[in-house]
């Protein structure tokens, strides 16, 4: 009884994705090997020192950026993870999170700056960001597999898509929130757009931008289990395995490790933003 025939949206999307895979394969291959190389690099750096040394480094980082309660939490939390035998998957997860956050910053901060300078660009990017954040994250996994195969890389791509919007949004917001009279003063003394951006707007927007990056870290952590569905190694894979085999204990252990990692990264990244100003 339909008045109009069903719009074949699914077919269109399929055909579009097919076209991309056919035509842009070299590009996707390049991205895949690039990201792969980067993640491997991070994992091998993290895995190079003994667990205790890395725990000490993180504890010092937490103590320097935050206060001693965070440092104690970091120390005990990481010791617990090591004791439970989740050290290697934790490093994989950490590498996944760090890589997607670094990509989010490299892409997100310039896009945010652009959005702050151009109302038109902001108008274009805002609905795209809404789409990226509200489309269920699982959906990204399907084309990610097609484009980037199985493993760490499609997981990272899906994480970046999901985690990058806050960095873009808050960079834009932070720059736009710089008080009007400071912008006026900067203009009145004959600043160029670039001078105004680097001497006034970005320094004053830093706390807001750091809040955005903090959000991106938390969102990409929330993607680790989903990323494991496409074969990304790490704590997410342990959780996923525990779910499929209905092993409550293991699921709890792996989940707890993710929580410890999340709290540690959240506190450290939050406080780095504060101490800078």
């Amino acid at each position: 009884m339909q008045l109009f025939p069903k719009i074949p949206l699914a077919d269109w999307v399929d055909r579009f994705v097919d076209m991309l895979t056919d035509n842009l394969e070299p590009l996707f291959d390049g991205i895949t090997s690039g990201i792969d190389w980067f993640v491997e690099g991070i994992v091998s750096i993290l895995a190079f020192p003994p667990a205790l040394v890395l725990i000490a480094i993180f504890t010092i980082l937490a103590w320097w950026s935050s206060r001693w309660p965070v440092a104690i939490f970091t120390f005990l939390g990481l010791l617990l993870i090591d004791n439970l035998g989740y050290w290697d998957p934790t490093l994989d997860t950490l590498a996944l999170v760090l890589t997607s956050v670094i990509i989010s910053i490299i892409l997100g901060v310039p896009l945010g700056i652009w959005a702050s300078q151009s109302d038109r660009f902001r108008g274009i990017i805002t609905p795209i960001l809404d789409f990226m954040q509200t489309m269920p994250a699982f959906v990204y996994l399907i084309p990610a597999i097609l484009f980037f195969g199985i493993g760490m890389v499609p997981g990272i791509i899906a994480s970046v898509i999901f985690a990058m919007p806050p960095t873009i949004r808050l960079t834009n917001l932070g720059i736009r929130q710089v008080p009007e009279d400071l912008i006026e003063a900067s203009n009145a003394f004959g600043s160029t757009t670039k001078q105004k951006l680097f001497k006034i707007q970005l320094p004053l927007a830093t706390p807001t931008i750091m809040a955005g990056i903090n959000q991106s870290i938390m969102l990409s952590l929330s993607m680790v289990v989903i990323a494991s569905l496409v074969g990304a190694p790490g704590l997410g894979a342990d959780v996923y395995r525990a779910v499929t085999q209905i092993k409550v204990g293991i699921g709890f252990e792996a989940g707890l490790a993710i929580v410890i990692l999340a709290i540690m990264l959240d506190r450290i990244s939050q406080n780095i933003g504060k101490t800078k100003n």
């Binding site: 006026e184 003063a185 900067s186 009145a188 004959g190 600043s191 160029t192 001078q195 004053l204």
Partner: protein, 402 residues
């Protein structure tokens, strides 16, 4: 006539969607509120024209919403004029390309802001350096200039403080130092002292006047405070609803208000802080010191005076004598010099009435007015002062009744 530093010709700013249409209506003589009703556009500044001469303090004053802050921003194009010209040294700011405009802002125009607008992430020195920094002047050189500028405003020793650590008055000194650091010809001061409390405001006004003695910048000063305008302005432009309603010296504005609006504005002003000795001075009889007491007494009798001022050949004031003393001197065969009263309180022609009240109370004789060369110009009698102060009151009561 001296050549103007800034010439503003028919500058108009209309905020809204169809400014050109609003300008046409303005030319047809429609008012600000009519245009708002018909087109939804707000007239910020309505065909303002004036000249500012080198070295003068030109005050633009009006109540909030009169368009004065918009007008000052049209001078350095922080706000884009809808029409008209702003000539600085004969160059039209309005038609300049962005690079030229930046150059003018860097070298010729500086601005001081109402809420200071200091950069919170930079130290006092870094704030002061900002105008030099954007010109890519070397680090040492700009630190030196900024340092000089800070010393000028009395902030030596605060270089490494952050603005948030300073009081309001000190913050605005930083604002002033920042504006002076690149040695501009023109200072634009937008309600620069309005955010300060009254005592500090007065200090800052004094200091600005003192600095101006040596700097001789061209200053455009925006204020809503008439007392401030009268205190520091060489000339004052009064604004209402975006239009300039009168331009003149403080005295012209006070004594000759162009319309009811200006009159209402000025009627509450303490006249003793505006009128000077030259406004109430009377001509007085003088006598050369080489004449005898007999001549002096005769002169006083003829004119009905009880005292007389004695000058030398060059009209320099030597002192005064009273009729009683002159009569005694004739009896005892003394000279005028023997009965001369020399410890007289004197005032200069530009002394404000408010500053001569104590002197008047202290002396039994009228106050002599002398210029910088001690030349006798006239006298101040109490009646004239009271008359001048009362004159305003009767006038303003009249305008209230009518």
């Amino acid at each position: 006539m001296e050549k103007a530093k800034i010439t503003v010709k028919d500058v108009t700013k209309v905020f809204g969607k169809s400014p050109k249409q609003a300008v046409k209506l303005l030319d047809q003589g429609k008012s600000k509120s009519e245009i708002l009703k018909e087109t939804g556009n707000t007239v910020g500044v309505n065909r303002a024209s004036f000249d500012v001469y080198p070295g003068e303090i030109f005050v633009i004053m009006g109540l909030s919403g009169s368009g004065k802050s918009t007008l000052v921003r049209l001078l350095n194009r922080l706000i884009e004029p809808t029409s008209g010209q702003v000539l600085i040294d004969d160059e039209d700011i309005v038609r300049m390309k962005p690079e030229q405009l930046r150059e003018v802002r860097r070298k010729k125009l500086s601005m001081v802001f109402q809420r200071f607008a200091l950069f919170p992430h930079r130290t006092v020195l870094e704030n002061t350096e900002y105008g030099l920094e954007v010109q890519n002047i070397g680090k040492e050189n700009r630190a030196k200039k900024a340092q000089e500028s800070l010393e000028l405003v009395g902030l030596k020793g605060y270089e490494n403080s952050f603005p948030s650590e300073l009081s309001g008055g000190m913050q605005q000194r930083v604002g002033l130092a920042r504006a002076l650091a690149n040695d501009p010809d023109v200072l634009l001061m937008d309600e620069a002292f309005s955010a300060l409390d009254p005592l500090i405001r007065k200090d800052m006004q004094d200091e600005l006047l003192e600095l101006q003695e040596s700097m001789e910048k061209t200053i455009v000063f925006i204020t809503h405070d008439l007392d401030e305008a009268l205190r520091i302005g060489d000339r004052i432009a009064l604004m209402k609803d975006g239009s300039i309603v009168q331009i003149g010296s403080p005295e012209e504005i006070m004594t000759n208000p162009a319309n009811d609006y200006v009159e209402r504005f000025v009627e509450d002003v303490d006249l003793s802080k505006v009128l000077t000795a030259s406004n109430v001075m009377k001509r007085a009889e003088t006598l050369r010191a080489d004449r005898g007491p007999r001549v002096a007494l005769q002169l006083m009798k003829d004119k009905g005076l009880s005292s007389l001022y004695i000058v030398d050949k060059k009209q320099k004031l030597l002192g005064a004598i009273t009729a009683d003393d002159a009569a005694k001197a004739i009896d005892s065969q003394k000279d005028i010099n023997d009965i001369l009263i020399t410890d007289l309180h004197t005032v200069t022609p530009d002394t404000l009435l408010t500053d001569m009240f104590t002197k008047m109370a202290d002396s039994s004789l009228p106050l002599p007015v002398i210029d910088e060369a001690d030349k006798f110009k006239g006298i101040i009698v109490r009646g004239a002062v009271i008359g001048a102060l009362a004159g305003n009151e009767t006038e303003s009561t009249k305008s209230e009744v009518s």
